[in-house]
């Protein structure tokens, strides 16, 4: 059992509030990622969990025990750092054994643990090497090994893959995932790479300006972003956004954007209909592109192809009607050319609506313009 809980965790550096009231529950054996751009407070949050930074307000719990004031090494956590932070004056063995030596484990036990982990990570032949003699990938594995020999309750990863080249990063990502499946140790992983987060995590906490904007499974984050920020940050290519107003009229939901109008049937309208400034989001794979014919469906608009990005497996098509543009994903063999006229269909069940000011998600299945107060508060992880 190693369940980590953060309650109203805050950290300020002078007048800068790096982490603001973060509350998260990290279940036992889960792999949780703190995801966000640089400067969003994710590494600071990790340092607070590790005890490397002093908490300004709030608490950290490990298995219901308050560990907020414990020294880093008393918490039973191990950390893998971005630049590996291996001790350059020791060899691989020395690096891996250092923590156990300080914890005064018997020599035989240290040796047995180091060799066991070295075998697991295929580092056996490197144990006598100096750190400067290792490649980036090998250093990464030593850093992992140094954390593993301590048999910690929680693994903390601070962007451990960002210094590796693309191919190696993908490979190490898989290795970390396999390792987690094998060891089942609760892990907290910090990254700015959304693909990495999606691939590795059971749960993702998307952070922005020291705040957790949304906390949920990878699918929830992708399929039901609760905030415009999450919607545009997650997914590749970025979600297409059209700005306009939304109104409800005669069981229909009508979106009026710049030079376009889309409408979808709406049943069971409640509340007072009103006009609402909104941002309409649609993912590339949810857009249907067709060739124009006489009748334009209510949930479609005419546009022209502005840019083609063939990727081999798919082709991304940027379509524009002059003032608005979105990206669609089509099969690679679609004979499209820049300048072609197309019809862009936006299915109702795939669209995302956000309030233009609060940028919180509106529910497109009921009347999104009613009952504003619930959407204002939104959902926080």
């Amino acid at each position: 059992m190693s369940r980590v809980e953060l309650r109203g965790l805050s950290k300020s550096f002078g007048s800068v509030h790096a982490v603001k009231q973060v509350s998260l529950e990290i279940p036992d054996q889960a792999f949780v990622t703190l995801l966000g751009p640089s400067g969003c407070g994710k590494t600071t949050t990790l340092n607070l969990i590790a005890g490397l930074e002093k908490v300004t307000r709030g608490d950290v719990f490990l298995d219901n025990e308050r560990i907020t004031d414990w020294a880093p090494h008393e918490r039973g956590m191990a950390m893998v750092f971005q630049n590996y932070a291996l001790y350059p004056h020791m060899n691989v063995y020395g690096n891996m054994a250092f923590g156990l030596k300080l914890m005064k484990h018997p020599k035989a036990q240290i040796d047995q643990r180091v060799r066991h982990v070295a075998k697991l990570l295929e580092l056996e032949h490197l144990l006598d090497r100096r750190i400067s003699q290792l490649s980036g990938g090998q250093q990464q594995r030593v850093a992992l090994g140094r954390a593993m020999v301590k048999e910690p309750k929680v693994f903390l990863f601070d962007e451990p893959l960002s210094n590796l080249d693309a191919a190696l990063r993908t490979r190490m990502r898989i290795e970390i995932k396999k390792l987690h499946q094998q060891l089942k140790t609760t892990s907290i992983f910090v990254t700015h790479d959304q693909e990495e987060a999606m691939m590795l995590s059971d749960y993702i906490a998307v952070m922005k300006d020291g705040d957790v904007v949304q906390y949920g499974t990878a699918q929830e984050i992708y399929r039901q972003p609760q905030h415009l920020y999450v919607a545009t940050f997650i997914g590749k290519p970025s979600m297409g956004i059209l700005s306009g107003t939304l109104r409800v009229k005669q069981d229909a939901m009508i979106f009026s954007g710049q030079d376009l109008q889309l409408s979808w049937p709406l049943t069971g309208v409640t509340g007072t209909p009103q006009e609402l400034p909104v941002l309409l989001g649609i993912r590339a794979e949810d857009i249907t592109l067709t060739t124009p014919n006489e009748a334009l469906a209510a949930n479609a608009f005419a546009a022209t192809v502005a840019l083609l990005e063939p990727l081999g497996s798919d082709t991304y098509v940027e379509v524009s009607n002059g003032s608005s543009s979105v990206t669609a994903r089509v099969e690679p063999d679609r004979p499209l050319r820049v300048g072609d006229s197309v019809v862009v269909t936006v299915p109702r069940e795939k669209l995302h609506l956000f309030h233009a000011e609060s940028e919180q998600r509106l529910n497109p299945y009921t009347n999104p313009t009613a009952n504003l107060s619930t959407t204002e508060t939104g959902t926080r992880g």
């Binding site: 340092n47 590790a50 490397l52 020294a71 880093p72 090494h73 956590m77 191990a78 950390m79 750092f81 971005q82 630049n83 932070a85 291996l86 001790y87 350059p88 004056h89 250092f98 923590g99 300080l102 914890m103 400067s132 140094r146």
Partner: protein
């Protein structure tokens, strides 16, 4: 084409410049070395009349037979070594927090630490003299160690601070996760990792103390006379000093620092040129 045809020009120019520079710095030493093994009459004439047949080590032997000179060599070696150790110990303890901790007005303290070096040494000599006299430390090794450390410590702090700052903070975070205290990570991680820089700083402190003249002259009279002061007395106390003797004494005073640099050569070059590498 152009660059290939004249490719030899660049190295030739570079090597010439290096040789010229070496000659510039080493010529005086070479000349003193020659003086120390030749009778004076051979090199005071123009042009010099150096002769292999006249080479002799008798000036060295005569210097080494002088108890005063040997005492001074010992005094300087002890004072410079202890000064070096004191400066490194306190320098490391001061440089570490300056490099790593968020201390209010940090730069003010750093600036303050070099104030004593901003005024001519002469200004401080009288107060220093009175201070040491009251402490009964005149003409004592300890007195010189205290005074030299006062002047060298600011440099040592600045140098060590720069070396410490080059160590990635994550290295210490890792040490703290592994169970090191702040002090533990200073001694187990910072100091071993910055060893080349620390050795370079040590040599700097040793040479600084070894070469000091002015304070040694004023603060010591008999028991703790530094070798630099003794050298000058060789020149000034005799009506006509034997220049070969002075040269031999000069060569002898070169030995301890040169020996130190040779022993630690491996470190000093890495420390000064590369800093700490990761």
């Amino acid at each position: 084409m152009q660059s290939r045809r004249f490719g030899w020009l660049r190295p030739t120019f570079l090597y010439s410049a290096v040789l010229l520079f070496l000659f510039w710095t080493l010529a005086p030493v070479l000349w003193i070395a020659i003086m120390s093994i030749q009778p004076e009459i051979n090199y005071v004439t123009v042009p010099p009349n150096l002769s292999v047949a006249d080479v002799s080590l008798r000036w060295y032997i005569s210097m080494l037979a002088q108890p005063d000179f040997l005492n001074s060599l010992r005094a300087s070696t002890i004072v410079a070594t202890v000064t070096m150790v004191v400066c490194l110990f306190f320098g490391a303890l001061a440089a570490y927090p300056l490099a790593r901790l968020n201390i209010p007005n940090k730069n003010f303290f750093l600036g303050l630490s070099v104030v004593s070096r901003m005024m001519p040494a002469m200004v401080l000599i009288i107060p220093m003299f009175l201070l040491l006299r009251n402490l009964k430390l005149l003409d004592r090794y300890l007195g010189l160690v205290i005074v030299y450390s006062t002047f060298l410590l600011p440099y040592v702090i600045w140098m060590l601070k720069n070396f410490f700052e080059q160590v990635p903070p994550a290295l210490e975070s890792a040490a703290r996760m592994d169970g090191c205290s702040r002090l533990g990570s200073l001694f187990r991680i910072m100091i071993p990792v910055t060893a080349p820089g620390i050795v370079a700083t040590a040599i700097f402190a040793f040479i600084g103390a070894w070469n000091e003249f002015l304070f040694g002259l004023i603060l010591s009279t008999n028991r703790a006379v530094p070798v630099t002061v003794r050298l000058s007395s060789l020149v000034s106390t005799t009506f006509h000093s034997d220049n070969s003797l002075v040269a031999a004494a000069g060569m002898l005073t070169l030995i301890p620092p040169v020996l130190l640099v040779f022993v630690l050569n491996r470190f000093i070059i890495r420390g000064l040129v590369e800093g700490v590498k990761f």
